[in-house]
């Protein structure tokens, strides 16, 4: 047993109304990369927060080098050599790299207890060299991109001589090259004996990097395997608890006539010469990497931002969209990617959120409470929103139910074209399946649906047609049933189809 650096035994953590972790096991060896996977809501974040001392477990034991420990707060975990790196590093953007690295544990002059800037500068420089980062330690953090900021977080962990490094979705905002560099560094850290907990949604990364993988589902421990003893399909099945085809209940609808079309849409720097058409009842998937211009394109169509050139057509008539208000009255709705920031007014109740987009249709512009409640209740029933009532604050709903409220808000406007930007991001498996069902129903009612998604299985299984964007351009188009994840990925990273076929 002594060869584990960190052991978690029968860890249980309850929150009001939900058991986030239920008798969970986890063991970490020095010098291994241990992947932790599971759907959203599986309990990964809670587990991480317990390891890093943010939460205290209700039951169970934590052993560090075989000794039982309990962390009263993050600072204790940090002192014990545990560091965490998050997908979106929280840094002090106006301060220098060196100041960020030594935040909370500055190097002091032994006598005067004044800060030893020179030593901090030099140590940071050395750490940066180890990470092959050629930046002056005095550079303010704000000039660094996300990838570089993550490396600074790693430098900070190294400066603390951390023995356990937790990386929570570190690659979600990185480009392919940045990801490669990060993996090189992770591999070197492993070689030097650091134990790494690696959390990722991308199973291909897990299989490339990890030595072992532990799967959680609905707060329960499902199993731990050496990576060479399992297949991707096996891991997915452990995560989801059921085979793939049940997750994506795509119903086949015969698409009708053309409904919507964009021609040569261009905004300098973001997207170029985008042309596509959409038919009634059709689900058009748009795949691509983060930063490929998909959201920018959708926001321009919806009137949040402007475009430089091109035209938008609905029912063979050209549309002039100058604001979301114009788009909505024409019949175009857009479900934004960031549900909490752009989709919902969290401190307000369900009824107010659902009707926010249709208030101007109210008679004399007066608030009509009975009418409002009627509309809200209809959607709560239709979308099966789990709530104590339509006066419940949206803030207190789960992610899946929040997303249903956003969908209800758009459905209330009776749109003809619905653009969905990552509609299942951050919601649990049941809610996902429910959202897919709703999308199918909407398509069956004759809406044209544009589905922007980074989850390849989702795009592949739900779409009738798939566009792949790469650096602001449409790189490929595929028909339903004729495409693999591989092909989409190749197109998304900019390799031409032919080359992909040849290699």
């Amino acid at each position: 047993m002594g060869n584990y650096i960190l052991e978690l035994h029968n860890l249980t953590k309850r929150f009001p109304g939900v058991t986030a972790l239920d008798q969970v096991q986890f063991q970490l060896k020095p010098g291994e990369i241990h992947a932790l996977v599971g759907e959203n809501g599986a309990g990964k974040s809670t587990l991480i927060k317990i390891i890093t001392g943010v939460y205290q477990p209700d039951q169970g034991q934590i052993l560090l080098n075989g000794e039982p420990v309990s962390f009263a707060g993050p600072i204790n975990a940090q002192q014990a050599g545990i560091a965490a790196i998050y997908q979106d590093p929280t840094t002090f953007v106006e301060l220098s790299i060196a100041e960020n690295v030594f935040m909370g544990h500055p190097i002091l002059h032994p006598k005067s207890k004044r800060i030893n800037w020179q030593a901090m500068h030099n140590t940071t420089k050395k750490l940066l060299q180890e990470l092959e980062l050629d930046i002056d330690p005095d550079t303010p953090m704000k000039f660094l991109n996300v990838a570089e900021r993550q490396l600074i977080e790693i430098a900070k962990a190294l400066s603390l001589h951390s023995k356990i490094l937790i990386m929570d979705e570190p690659t979600s905002a990185l480009t392919i090259q940045e990801t490669k560099r990060l993996f090189d560094i992770i591999n070197r850290l492993r070689a030097s004996g650091v134990a790494i907990v690696f959390i990722s949604h991308r199973l291909d990364e897990v299989f490339e990097l990890a030595d072992r993988v532990t799967v959680l589902r609905d707060g329960k421990y499902i199993g731990t395997h050496n990576i060479n003893e399992v297949t991707v399909d096996k891991v997915i099945q452990m995560m989801v608890g059921r085979p793939m085809h049940e997750m994506y209940p795509k119903t086949t609808i015969e698409p009708g006539p053309e409904l919507f079309r964009v021609e040569n849409l261009t905004r300098h720097g973001d997207f170029f010469n985008i042309s596509f058409s959409l038919r009634r009842g059709e689900i058009l998937g748009i795949a691509g990497l983060v930063g490929a211009g998909r959201t920018e394109l959708a926001e321009a169509i919806f009137g949040i931002t402007r475009f430089n050139q091109g035209t938008i057509w609905l029912d063979q008539k050209e549309l002039k969209v100058r604001s979301p208000h114009d788009a909505l009255s024409a019949g175009i709705a857009y479900l934004p990617e960031d549900r909490q920031r752009c989709g919902l007014v969290l401190p307000m109740n369900i009824a107010s959120n659902v009707t926010l987009s249709i208030l101007e249709t109210f008679k004399y512009r007066l608030l009509n409470k009975p009418q409002e409640c009627l509309i809200a209740q209809q959607f709560v029933d239709k979308l099966d929103i789990r709530t104590s009532g339509i006066m419940q604050l949206v803030r207190n709903l789960s992610g899946g139910n929040q997303q249903k409220v956003v969908l209800a808000k758009w459905m209330a406007t009776k749109p003809r074209v619905l653009i969905l930007d990552e509609p299942t991001k951050g919601i649990d498996v049941q809610a996902k399946t429910a959202v897919y069902g709703l999308i199918n129903n909407l398509a069956a009612e004759g809406l044209g649906i544009i589905l922007i998604s980074s989850e390849l299985p989702e795009v592949i299984c739900m779409s009738d047609r798939i566009l792949v964007m790469h650096e602001g351009e449409i790189a490929a188009e595929f028909e339903r049933g004729q495409v693999t994840q591989e092909q989409i990925l190749q197109a998304a990273i900019g390799r031409r189809q032919l080359e992909a076929d040849v290699s």
Binding site: F302, L328, S329, L346, P347, M348, L356, S357, L367, K409
Partner: protein, 319 residues
Amino acid sequence: MSRLVRRWEFILVVLLVAVFIIMSRLSPWFLDVRNLFDATLHFTEKAIIALCMTMIVITGNVDLSVASNMAMSAAVMGVAFRSGMSIGAAAGLCLLVGTLGGLFNGIVITRFKLPAMVVTLASFSLFRGIAYVLLGNQAVTGYPYQFSDLGQGYFAGTIIPNQLVFFAVLAVIFGFILHKTTFGRYIYAIGNNEDACRYSGVPVDRIKLILFTVSGLISSFAAVLLTSRILSTRPNIAQGFELEVITAVVLGGVSISGGSGTMIGVVLSLFLIGFTRFGMSLLNVPAQVMTVLIGCLLIFAILLPKLLDKFAQKSSRSA
């Protein structure tokens, strides 16, 4: 603790009752209906501005230029009257100038996506400066006697001041708009999440533009009332009103970061501050000390719910 007790408005009512009890004990003249009605004259101009300020603060913005706008529009009115314009036309011009001042704020804020705090801080200086340029250090006096009826007179032979009637009518209108119309719902929604409103097709910029323009109009209306009450115009009138107005709005339970608050709360807080001042003036409390006490009242009122929360937690733990 029951819901009613937790409501801010309830706390304000309790404080208001407490002020009435304490003041009536300390001064025999406090509980005189005519006195109380006349006392409202000292704060109705600010109170009228507070109505629109309430809406602006609920959207998460603030208008610091209201008092300077009063001075500017009053100065224009004074100059116009001095140069021979009829008092009615001059007052109309005053309202026009105030409205334009508010419109200017609104346009700069919405077109250039600037924070209202910064823009109105600039016009706070600008408007006051224009008032000084127009009037120098002189005062305009000699307004006709009939004009004083607006700000000093009483409503239809009663003991209710005209100003209070204006305030009551406007308070009902503003309260109705805030609480019963879709425009009011937009105001709350913008204060809670402006981005989500934009993405929902809410005309955020138009609403802000309307609010700041109305704020200018209301400020100049208050300027007309003030001029009528004191029958003179100086460039330094209404100095510091903006902070007194914002104080009343915050004490009324409006979150300074936007999103919550009620019109009735602000009305209660206006009367609370107004009658507290009146009572203290009856007791010959010097103005400087009064300011100290108003500050203490504000801190106390803000702390009260937190203290009650703590108390409730303790008692529930021991139970």
